[in-house]
Symmetry: C3
Subunit: 677 residues, 3 copies
């Protein structure tokens, strides 16, 4: 991840806000950091108001001291630019920096992530601040990375955004004629004759709430483009800071902390402007262990497998979940190693010392309100810190050797969120999770890839709910399959192209030939009204949508048992060129995905890293120098696994023969290095 | 319905939008229309933006071509005026045409049905467009009807509406003194001294949300008047277009497509300005067969039994229901014939060819995205088209011979929606449905009538939840009962007069003498807290409200069994003049309405068209020349019925003796003509 | 309560609005009042629009007549100032008096309680009206109390409020440096450099909805202060009217009608400006009998036990509950006497005659829409009126002899509502109710006290969820415990001080030493995921939150059975100085509070007024001259109780020996005077 001579191990630390504390407490913090083996701090995440007091009034004195403190104590620094929340004086002086919400109401000063991304004032001041910080601290050797702003996200619908949107559209479409075609404006009398007739698609114009918090649109074209535009707008803000920093410190890598499966920003487009990926992992109180695993793999895939930074996680509790459960003993360590198991080269936290005021004061920290080291949380963190020192750099740079991939695409996510019909149960992320879960449970390495990624190294590619195929992706998949790949598609695929215009001639559009089917109709079963299908002699539920398929070359592997479409295929296989493709015409239960993908993986010679009991996860990273197995027991019971190679436990030092039973206690972790012969 | 020499059968077709397609596809559409026996198309529903490009810039070239295409192919035309969605340029140039929502937020351009009904600009331009269309195409013989705008509805709370509301109020009340009296403004210090003090009753003033999406008001008087005013305002917009068209084509009938039980517009007032009624039938995925039946009967009643047009329905799926289930095989035909069975003389659809972009692209169509005739939906539609040709004009003009009627009144609907207490379970439409369902299940013809309709032809009139009696309707019902009618009333009746001021002296107010009871109090049972009553030896649930009745002449037919009002009457009968009345003091289950109305109908000699098993519907239409029985099996099982007359099956040609068992397969339809002797 | 020579019994009457009726009806009302033994009417609650027709145009003619009518009929008058709803003309002329909602949308004229509390115009006009009324009617001997405005409440976020908020903050904090410290503005870059940078904390700035209608904030400091400021702002409006009246009629007591557990206003601060407390009791359709009891006790505590006025209750139904159930026979009397049993010296109603228009027309009244005395409600009210005459003044001035108290504090209520974490189940009021219910069920007198009240007279003080300890209250409780008191605390206590800044050093902060524990962590169990603990051999559910406690002096009385904290204490006891303290680390079921508080009360010699079966409530009031027992059977079954003293039934005249069984029918009441020997 971060290339720097100083770094020989997994970095360990997190967000540190000494500006909230009197200086007398700082030295105590240093003592506690040493006890906990902390070696990196993220500084300056939210200090804009104290750094800049007016257009031309700057004060870096406190930050100088804080950076000096970190340097004196040998801490690596991840230096943030502080632009995730603008100062109150700026909001008062330049109201244009305040966002306007989807009802057209302009915000007042408050909260964070509150700046309009198309405000020229915000862009000027934020890039200026980033540049000033880079210029001031460029000689500080301890700075190992830049952290631009914080958790970009949200939307704005102000007049600056409206104007910028028109400019973005002109660049994209060139002519109004082409825009009118792409958005199908002949529908509902929407023809535009002047760019200035185009307005932001919000609750005042095209969008509306449908059911509980579900935003819908009357015009998919403009709404889809607005999501792309908003993502691009924030990326431009990021890029302005990036460039300002790069001019001063060309050798220090720059990132911003992403949020895993956040739908608002197309992280695959963003990734091109990030020197390395970092992200914040906050599973919900009821998350299953494959949920963070998927997100780690998605983040790893953003830069084609390059190790990433776990920038934030909580030591124990969050403050914003509905029920802020404690991480049980061992779970913080387990989840930290899970990040490493999926490609992380840092393990960092929000936060080092717990605030005493405002909304995050009940969020967990290394140093809690008690203020000392005598807590369970501190003890667990110090133990993990020690363990990381013991492991050293052995896992750094490790890559995940995947022959299988799942396509994940923000355009598809948006398009399916915005779809008017055929069912409110459509959920792109949940469909992806249903497929991902199989690979996780089987310890089969899998990458989450974009439509732009090379497909060459994969033998099996699944693209759940690939509703929209942009930029020739259908053709690319078809070529790859023809050349010997094995493609798995699902219901609600291939309908549309980039602008969400339907590909005529029958679904699944550009995937039709390769899949060898025609989807004549699609039924939307009502919840609790069971429809079922059979596959290899067993019956499974058919949920969310049921395609009515006519094979056009494909063979049926399983059929519906109910409704007037009983007997029509629910699962098909098509031989295509040197490869083959599968189609699953509905959503089903985990048992189905297990049975189905077992068959496909067997056929395609896709094998697990290791076999293991339920809830014992095994992953593999290859560093070039070493092969490291990560064994993680997410269950409540002690268990065991077998690794198909002779390995050595990097923590206990104990060796195991290939296939020997390796005990793994509940919530425990083993880091095993493959013996080289 | 539509008087025109060209029409000798049920018209068959629907909305057609060739403007969304290149011209090369048009001829293919014509071929497919012929295959499907389509003989009418609705054109130009949403083309304003392409027809008018600026205040004075018009372009009818494309529409000329489209109308020419229809003419060449012998299609009848229902020509729309396109005013259901204004152009973007107009919104930009004249923001006053944009509506303001109930929070006071002005909309931006987008969606449809988006014009302020009190905008002078909108009124000028929309009437102008209608007039230009009529002048341009008046010589086109194929135009059989005008279709003004589209699905009028929604609300506006802008300053133009506020001013127009004051004018409307001045006209209605004459003086502020009278308005203050009618609205009881002595309550809560609301006395108005100047008309300009009156503001729109929205979320900023009198109204508020109570529970899930339930709008309430603090002042019933102003809120009720605002609903009347909004309905009138849109009706004026309609009327302006109507008049502009009529000046050019006095002989072509004019309509607009209504929406069945849409609460926003008083369709009974609107009906006076429609040459014939047309409506759009979109039952929900879980609708029961009596629900569209009720709406057909309501629409038929708007013009006192005159046949109506089914202007829209979907061939298979909608795109806007939560679960867009496919219409099962046969259901499209079944529901089409159900419309005819209740009085429709056309069977039309949205849409002929499926769009490829924007929010209706997943809505069903005759010609789907596959683009050809080889689909289930096309095959079913073509078969129905052929069947309609076979039937010819035999059903046209048929009337429903009803001796029973149910009063349905928009003022009551609004007043009960706006009622502050006594229970959130109040539901005017559901109460009406509970009563209607009996007649449907029994194949008893029933009309849904307004308070202005003549009562003379009816023997039995039910008026569920007749909370508000406007314009002497209580007296009218009383006279009719005294003259020999049989009236059935329910809880929450007779409370108020037109302005929602309570009639003092005890409930049910003006109905008190005729019903022979006094309702001292009304209890609101909490759901799942059972209260019950007995009727003819059986026990039934008492729900929603329980009146505590004192007979003042009436006799008790059944009493409560629970609560402190156990023993008080729950059902009463009162002999009154030459007639009689019944009162049902609570809401109950279908079994009760069956038992109760069986008694009443027996007493009043109200008889079914035919007896039939559950879910087999039988209706009768008399054309003057013929008596046609429609038999519709809504069930999943094959069944049979017996018709009390000798009949001939107009499809198979087979004859049946009176009372002979006539088999009717699941989801099948029989059209039977009574033999004349 | 109200000191006045005219008053020798419990006042009986309520809101009377003759201005809504023609004068011919007034005399009939007088006749009916006499029948019902009504001796007080509240007049002029909503007449501003009729009293003042422009800035300088006043008209008191109708009010003169109405007051004259009351005087002629010997009725006592509670004279309202009418400022609870401003006139329409004023809203039109001075839009600044209209409130702005939490989205920044200014209201239009309508509803009531609609004036911005920081509008100089509203303040001027409302105080002027109060003064004019006082000057005009000061010689009217029948006026026994002033009723300022009506049910103060709601919020405003307008620019006048924003400016006034800054002024309020300047007064409170003196310097921006102190404000920045108190609000911890170093968090999220919130440092203020100018007072004018501070904006109202609404949905546009710091606050947002979290889940169903739950308002959250990003900055607890400003949001907490805004609630204090809003309460103070309305109190200032009240005080301006108070002062204007007092100048004219120094001897007539002044009040405003409070709303029990209304969270919007800090009634404990308000109480200082009220001559006596009055409140409106509207239990929900599903309220349990201890719920109004708690509210009566809270209202009584506002002025340290001084008798209060029950200003409003409904004779039978409300109009605004979801299900407006009738008060069952006897319940109106039962609830009236329950008020007296807890300290009320008046029993008053909304309303005397039922309106015929607007939103309260379906609200119950002495005189219903029937308009005469022949109703159940009238009969019950007349009987109670007669009973009150029979009882006379025997209960007047009675005090409740409590040795136990529960702390109730609005700052805590607000702070816990605004808390970001640890669980959405946090509910200050429900936690208080869980503890209160025990005392109610046991007939143990208990006071609800503020943090400013003297603790000296109590032996046992419980402070459920005392999250925030303002102004040295922790120290005060500690001293009181050390001096021999017995304190009971719960989870989520002692965290913060006045500004919601955490007290460092470990929870429960300032209560830590006295409680002898340290709360290291707190787990938030998910609903339906049972955690349990044992106490005295039985197992109880642990809900909402589970503290993980380390005793630091305290002893464990019960431990968790589940989760990784099984074995850690869930209930502790700490001997402290001459006293002791208990800590309950979680929320549990009624059975637990019963078992636990039985132990504590036994230890502390806290005894019931009398033992009684479930749902039979017994309270005691001591007037100085007499000891009065109130026995109230809330159950559906007849029951009995025993009083530990010889008593005489003030209604039947019958005497009972000490300990003799006294039968008490379902929903019946006995007023028993202790015999003096």
């Amino acid at each position: 991840m971060i290339g720097n001579d100083r770094i020989h191990k997994i970095l360990y630390g997190g967000d540190y806000n000494p500006e909230q504390w009197p200086e007398e407490i700082w030295q105590e913090d240093m003592r506690l950091f040493r006890l906990a083996h902390v070696d990196i701090v993220t500084l300056n995440v939210f200090s804009w108001a104290s750094l800049q007091k007016d257009d031309d009034c700057w004060d870096f004195a406190q930050l100088d001291k804080i950076i000096g403190l970190a340097e004196e104590n040998g801490l690596n620094i991840c230096l943030a630019t502080s632009t995730g929340a603008h100062p109150a004086w700026m909001a008062r002086k330049y109201p244009e920096i305040l966002r306007v919400n989807e009802q057209g109401i302009r915000r007042k000063f408050g909260s964070r992530h509150n700046s309009c991304p198309n405000s020229p004032i915000y862009r000027k001041f934020s890039a200026q601040l980033a540049g000033k910080l880079a210029a001031r601290y460029k000689s500080c050797k301890n700075i190992v990375a830049w952290h631009v702003s914080n958790e970009y996200g949200g939307m704005c619908y102000c007049e600056n955004c409206e104007r910028a949107f028109r400019t973005w559209l002109k660049k994209k479409y060139g002519t109004l004629q082409e825009l009118n075609r792409a958005w199908n404006t002949a529908f509902w009398s929407h023809t535009f004759y002047d760019w200035d007739e185009i307005v932001v698609p919000d609750l005042r114009s095209e969008e509306f709430y449908y059911g509980e918090g579900m935003l819908r649109t009357n015009f998919q074209g403009i709404s889809l483009d607005y999501r792309r535009f908003m993502s691009d707008s924030m990326q431009e803000c990021y890029r302005l800071e990036y460039d300002a920093i790069k001019r001063e410190t060309p050798d220090i890598p720059i990132t911003t902390n992403l949020m895993g499966t956040y739908s608002g920003l197309d992280y695959q487009r963003w990734a091109k402007d990030l020197d390395f990926i970092s992200w914040d992992n906050y599973p919900a109180y009821d998350s299953q262990p494959w949920e963070p695993a998927l997100r780690h793999d998605l983040m790893r895939g953003l830069k084609q497998g390059m190790p990433f930074a776990l920038m934030e996680q909580t030591p124990s509790v969050s403050n914003w979940h509905p029920y802020c459960s404690l991480k049980r003993p061992g779970v913080m360590r387990l989840m930290s190693w899970q990040a490493a198991a999926h490609g992380a080269d840092t393990i960092m936290f929000f936060q080092m010392r717990q605030s005493i005021g405002a909304c995050e004061k009940l969020h967990g920290a290394l140093i809690g309100h008690r203020g000392n080291e005598h807590t369970r949380v501190f003890a667990e963190m110090a133990a993990l810190g020690a363990e990381l020192e013991q492991i050293g750099g052995r896992t750094l740079g490790g890559r995940t050797p995947s022959k299988a991939a799942i396509v994940f695409d923000w355009d598809n996510w948006w398009a399916t969120q915005l779809s008017a019909g055929p069912t409110i149960l459509l959920d792109y992320l949940k469909e992806t999770e249903a497929w991902y879960r199989y690979f996780w449970e089987k310890n089969i390495p899998v990458d989450l890839i974009s439509t732009e990624d090379s497909l060459d190294d994969y033998q099996l590619i699944a693209a759940p709910m690939l509703y929209l195929c942009k930029s020739g992706f259908g053709e690319k998949l078809t070529r790859w399959t023809s050349d010997g790949g094995c493609f798995v598609g699902t219901y609600f695929s291939g309908y549309a192209q980039e602008h969400d215009l339907i590909v005529t001639g029958g679904y699944p559009g550009t995937l039709k030939d390769m899949l060898g089917i025609w989807v004549e109709e699609t039924d939307a079963p009502v919840p609790d009204t069971p429809v079922s299908f059979t596959f290899r002699g067993k019956s499974y539920p058919a949920e969310i949508l049921c395609d009515l398929i006519h094979p056009e070359g494909a063979v049926s592997l399983g059929s519906y048992k109910d409704e007037f479409y009983a007997g029509m295929p629910a699962v098909t296989r098509n031989s295509f060129g040197k490869g083959c493709s599968y189609y699953v015409a509905t959503h089903s239960c985990p048992e189905f995905y297990r049975e189905f993908l077992d068959c496909v993986c067997e056929e395609q010679h896709i094998t697990p890293v290791a076999d293991s009991p339920a809830l014992v996860e095994v992953t593999l990273r290859s560093t070039g120098k070493a092969e490291i197995y990560f064994v993680l027991n997410h269950g409540n019971a002690d268990s065991a696994c077998r690794i198909p190679a002779a390995v050595r436990d990097l923590i206990s030092g104990r060796s195991y023969a290939a296939g020997e039973e390796i005990p793994i206690a509940s919530r425990n972790v083993k880091i095993l290095q493959k013996n080289t012969k």
